[in-house]
Every structure is written in structure tokens, then in C-alpha cells.
């Protein structure tokens, strides 16, 4: 920090304190957001122990009345009441958004690693892997979801074993779509990272008697996956945002819920601003989380230097 070597100018000091206040506000907002979500979800699972299922955690009328008493905020009191009223729906939608993103990301990763490995080290399978990634990265995700949902009507083929997990079977179709699509993108990132692992690492692995596959598993992947974290974070963030497309095939996630409320109330402005903020909160949480993960697994001398 500049202040360590010379006295900070007033301007710098103001900027510095601005920034730490901002950071504090952000942390507080994050805690509020996740606290609200967690309490809402738990309340629903336990059949409404705190408030009846479907009711906001705090009564909208109370919020409205409180705000109306504060001079500056009085003008927004009615809006705030309205937003509070729709919070139960938004919390429900966010649950699906989080689940769909998490499950698809994990399943996509499981597919992406072998895809990337064959792409780098395979022969014939490298072509199969290339064709797969090019095809899925070359067409819009929404078109892919339409293929699965409208074209192949997969919602009616969901196996009994898993169909009860979600209220609606179409959720599985969305997960399948995001998994297949995400695998292609993740494979691309992982491939890039694997290729950046030096040749000498493989030679050394082979020289102590590891087989090729063992060398990939014990030497190349642990390094390559660490290199991949920053771009993989992008994929995580993309998936949170693009999970909103599940709404187009009637999955009642966050965007879908917002759209439904908007269609009933015509308050598009307010509803989608709030929805946008919620997605932003999810995205920021994900990137902060990944920075943490990256720090946790960091190894001196390994991995891309992060900007900022």
C-alpha cells in the first residue's frame, strides 16, 4: 500500500475508506441475501414452521408502513411492499436456479475431463471429442434446449427413479441440456490448461515407471486443473446466467417465476430489476467462492496469475 512508503494524500485516503465501506456494505448485503434464502428454503421444507408456506418472512404491510414513516424512503414504500410480497416465489425459483447450476456444472465436469484428455492425448477419440465440442459450442444453447424438450420430447422419458426428485420432470431435461452444453465448454478450458502443462512433466512421470494414464492422472491433471480454475470460474458464472434459459422450456426457476409475476402484475420494471440484482448476487458469490477455492488449492509457482 502506498501509505507504507509515503504519506497518503487526502484523496487516496478518502478513496481507501470509500472502498472499505463499500466492501463492508457488500458483505452485509451478501449475508442478508443468503440468510433470507436459507431461511425461506428451510421454512418451506419444514412445512412452514416460521411463516405459512408461500408467505413472505416479514409482512409486506409492515415493511410498507415502516418505510412510509421515513422521509426519504417514503416514496418507495409501496414498491418495497410489492417486492417483499413476491419474495417467496423468488426464493423458490432461486432454489431451482442454484440446484440446476450446481448439478449441471458437476455432471458437466465429469464428462469434460475425459473429453479434454482424449482431445489432447487420444487419436481417433480426439476427433470425436472435437466434433462434440464444436457442435455444441457452435449452436445456441436455447436451440439445444428446444431440441431436447420440443424435438425429442425428453420430458416424457425421464426415468422413474429420478422423476420424483423435482416437482416437474422438465427440470431433468434442463439439467441434461446444461450438462451436455457445459461439458463442451469446460472441456475446452481444461484442454487449454492440459496443453500448458510442460512436456517434461510427462517424461519425468514415465521415467519413474508410471503408465501414460497414471501420469495423466497423478501429474498432468492436478496441475492442469489448477491452471483451469480462472476460466472454469467463467463457465460457472455463465452457467448461472444461462440457467435462466430453462425458463423457456417451462422450468420454474428464478427467471420463469419473475416472468410469471410480471405477466400477472405488469410491473416489469421493478420485477426484472430485482431479478437482475438477484442473479448478480449469485454470480458475485460464485466468483468470490472460486477465488477462495483457488487460494485454497494454490501451490507456489503453479497456476495463472490472477488480474486484480
Amino acid at each position: 500500500m502506498a501509505s507504507a512508503t509515503r504519506p497518503a494524500t487526502v484523496r487516496e485516503r478518502v478513496a481507501e475508506s470509500d472502498r472499505s465501506v463499500g466492501r463492508l456494505l457488500l458483505v452485509a448485503a451478501g449475508a442478508l441475501f443468503w440468510g433470507w434464502l436459507a431461511v425461506s428454503w428451510v421454512n418451506r421444507w419444514l412445512g412452514g414452521v416460521l411463516v405459512p408456506v408461500g408467505q413472505p418472512l416479514v409482512p409486506p404491510a409492515a415493511v410498507e408502513a415502516t418505510l412510509a414513516g421515513i422521509p426519504v424512503l417514503a416514496a418507495y414504500a409501496a414498491d418495497a411492499g410489492f417486492v417483499v410480497e413476491m419474495t417467496p416465489d423468488l426464493a423458490r425459483g432461486t432454489w431451482l436456479t442454484v440446484v440446476i447450476t450446481g448439478v449441471s456444472l458437476a455432471l458437466g465436469f465429469v464428462i469434460a475431463v475425459p473429453l479434454a484428455v482424449t482431445r489432447v492425448y487420444g487419436r481417433f477419440s480426439a476427433w470425436v471429442s472435437l466434433a462434440y465440442t464444436e457442435l455444441l459450442r457452435g449452436t445456441p444453447l436455447l436451440a439445444q434446449l428446444f431440441v431436447l424438450y420440443y424435438g425429442l420430447n425428453l420430458a416424457s422419458y425421464v426415468p422413474d427413479a429420478v422423476s420424483g426428485v423435482f416437482a416437474r420432470e422438465v427440470v431433468w431435461v434442463a439439467i441434461l441440456g446444461f450438462t451436455l452444453n457445459g461439458a463442451a465448454y469446460q472441456a475446452e478450458y481444461i484442454r487449454g490448461a492440459l496443453e500448458s502443462v510442460e512436456e517434461g512433466q510427462i517424461t519425468a512421470g514415465r521415467a519413474i515407471g508410471l503408465s501414460k494414464l497414471e501420469t495423466i492422472y497423478h501429474v498432468v491433471l492436478p496441475q492442469g486443473l489448477r491452471y483451469a480454475i480462472p476460466s472454469w470460474t467463467n463457465e460457472f458464472v455463465y452457467l448461472i446466467k444461462y440457467s435462466s434459459l430453462a425458463g423457456f422450456i417451462t422450468v420454474p426457476e428464478l427467471y420463469y417465476r419473475a416472468d410469471q409475476i410480471a405477466a400477472e402484475t405488469f410491473r416489469y420494471t421493478l420485477i426484472f430489476l430485482v431479478t437482475g440484482v438477484m442473479y448478480l448476487a449469485l454470480v458475485l458469490t460464485a466468483s468470490k467462492l472460486m477465488v477462495r477455492v483457488e487460494e485454497r488449492v494454490a501451490i507456489p509457482g503453479l497456476g495463472a496469475e490472477r488480474e486484480e
Binding site: 517424461t203 519425468a204 512421470g205 492436478p222 496441475q223 489448477r226 509457482g301
Partner: protein, 248 residues
């Protein structure tokens, strides 16, 4: 040239595509011998070394190690590499593992030792190369000389019957060369069989039983160090040695 040579390389030839990089190379070693390969850059020293543990495939000739044909297509290559240690010019330490992790990986995954056994063995080997105080450092936290000593410990941990060194000190700053050579001297004293590519002529002179001079993929001349250094028979050998000496 007895029948029970420990390593016998006979008429080994190797091509990369159209280019022949080894021409009928032959030499042999007894158990406990130190042989030093010298020669100009690009003469095929690394390639020869890598043929011995099959990191490179020779197309013709024979390499008998302890009576077994290394070049046989039926040979279990991983088994061979278990028994032949290699030390690289560029260290090639596993960047994601600590010093102990680097040394323990082979014993753990290849020899199948338990986690604790592998770690103990790794600690012993690191102590052997004078790194008992750097067990948990990552490669990026070590000096070049320390890294190369980890590289040696990694190879030793497999308890190899032959060690290959490919210019182990060439990538090091001059002041770090000594510590690596010292470790290698120690191995010689313990009776390790070593095939070494190096430009460190004083080391070669001190420990080698035989020097093999390669040029253009051919063995130009070989013999005990006194002979090769003092009275080279071939003119090319003399010229090469002069050039090396003037660089020192």
C-alpha cells in the same frame, strides 16, 4: 568384454523420420561402473540415454541390461523404468508436489508402498541428498541446485540398479553445480552404476571408468579418462576437448 557385462549396448541405430541420429553405437559397462558420454550438442547423447529406458525407441541394435533385452517388444517398459533411474537437465520436478511428494510418488504409485512407507522412504532419500530441511518445499521455492538434488532423490527412491544422468548440471548457475556433483560423487562411492552425460570434465576425469565420445551419432573414441584426455587417438576428440576446456 566379458559375457556378464551389466549393460551392453550393441550397434544401436536410431532415426527420427529420415534423419539418422545414432549410428551403430556400442559400449558396455560392469556393475558399479561409471561411464560418461561426451560430445557436441546434437551428437545424440540424450537420445542414447533415453533409448536405455525406452523414452526413445531405437530401431536397430541391442541393449542388454542385466542379461535382459531392453529393446524387446515384449518387455514391460514400466518395469524397466522402475529399475532405471533418470535425472534430467531441466529437473522436471512435478510442479504441484512438494519435495517429499515428488520423491514419494513413484514408491507410492508404482511400487505400491503405503502412504507412510512412501513418505519415510522419501524423507530418507532427501536426507541422503542433503535436503532434510526442505521436505515440504515446493519446486518453485527451491534453488536450481536443490531442485536437481530432489530430482536425484526421486530417481533413487525407486532403488534403481542403473542411474542415467542427462546433463544434470547444465541448467545450473556455476555456484550451484558443486552441490549436485557432490551428491553424484557420493553415489559413485556407494557403488552405484551410472551412465552420465556431462560437460563437467574434471568430474568425468575423477570418477569415470570409461569415457565415450560421440559425434554425429557415432562413437568416435572411447577409453579410460587418462587415455582419452591425455592422448586422444582421434583428432576430433582432441578438438572437442580443447573447445570445452577453453569454455571452462
Amino acid at each position: 568384454m566379458s559375457d556378464d557385462d551389466f549393460l551392453r549396448v550393441t550397434d544401436v541405430s536410431k532415426w527420427y523420420g529420415e534423419e539418422q541420429v545414432l549410428h551403430d553405437v556400442s559400449f558396455e559397462m560392469d556393475r558399479g561402473d561409471v561411464t560418461v558420454l561426451i560430445g557436441p550438442s546434437g551428437s545424440g547423447k540424450s537420445t542414447m540415454l533415453r533409448c536405455v529406458n525406452r523414452l526413445a525407441e531405437a530401431q536397430e541394435g541391442s541393449i542388454l541390461l542385466d542379461g535382459e533385452e531392453v529393446l524387446s517388444p515384449d518387455l514391460d517398459v514400466d518395469e524397466l523404468r522402475r529399475e532405471v533411474g533418470m535425472v534430467f537437465q531441466g529437473f522436471n520436478l512435478f510442479a504441484h508436489l512438494t519435495a517429499v511428494g515428488n520423491v514419494a510418488l513413484g514408491p507410492r504409485r508404482v511400487l505400491g508402498l503405503s502412504e507412510t512407507e512412501a513418505r519415510e522412504r522419501a524423507e530418507d532419500q532427501l536426507e541422503r541428498v542433503g535436503l532434510a530441511d526442505q521436505l515440504d518445499s515446493y519446486p518453485a521455492e527451491l534453488s536450481g541446485g536443490q531442485q536437481q538434488r530432489v530430482g536425484i532423490a526421486r530417481a533413487l527412491a525407486m532403488e534403481p540398479k542403473l542411474m542415467l544422468f542427462d546433463e544434470p548440471t547444465s541448467a545450473l548457475d556455476p555456484e550451484l553445480i558443486g552441490e549436485v556433483l557432490e551428491v553424484m560423487h557420493g553415489l559413485v562411492d556407494e557403488g552405484m552404476t551410472m551412465l552420465v552425460v556431462t560437460h563437467e570434465m574434471s568430474f568425468a576425469r575423477a570418477v569415470a571408468d570409461e569415457i565415450v565420445f560421440l559425434d554425429d551419432g557415432r562413437v568416435v573414441e572411447r577409453g579410460p579418462p587418462e587415455q582419452l584426455f591425455e592422448r586422444p587417438e582421434e583428432e576430433r576428440t582432441g578438438r572437442f576437448l580443447e573447445r570445452i576446456a577453453s569454455h571452462d
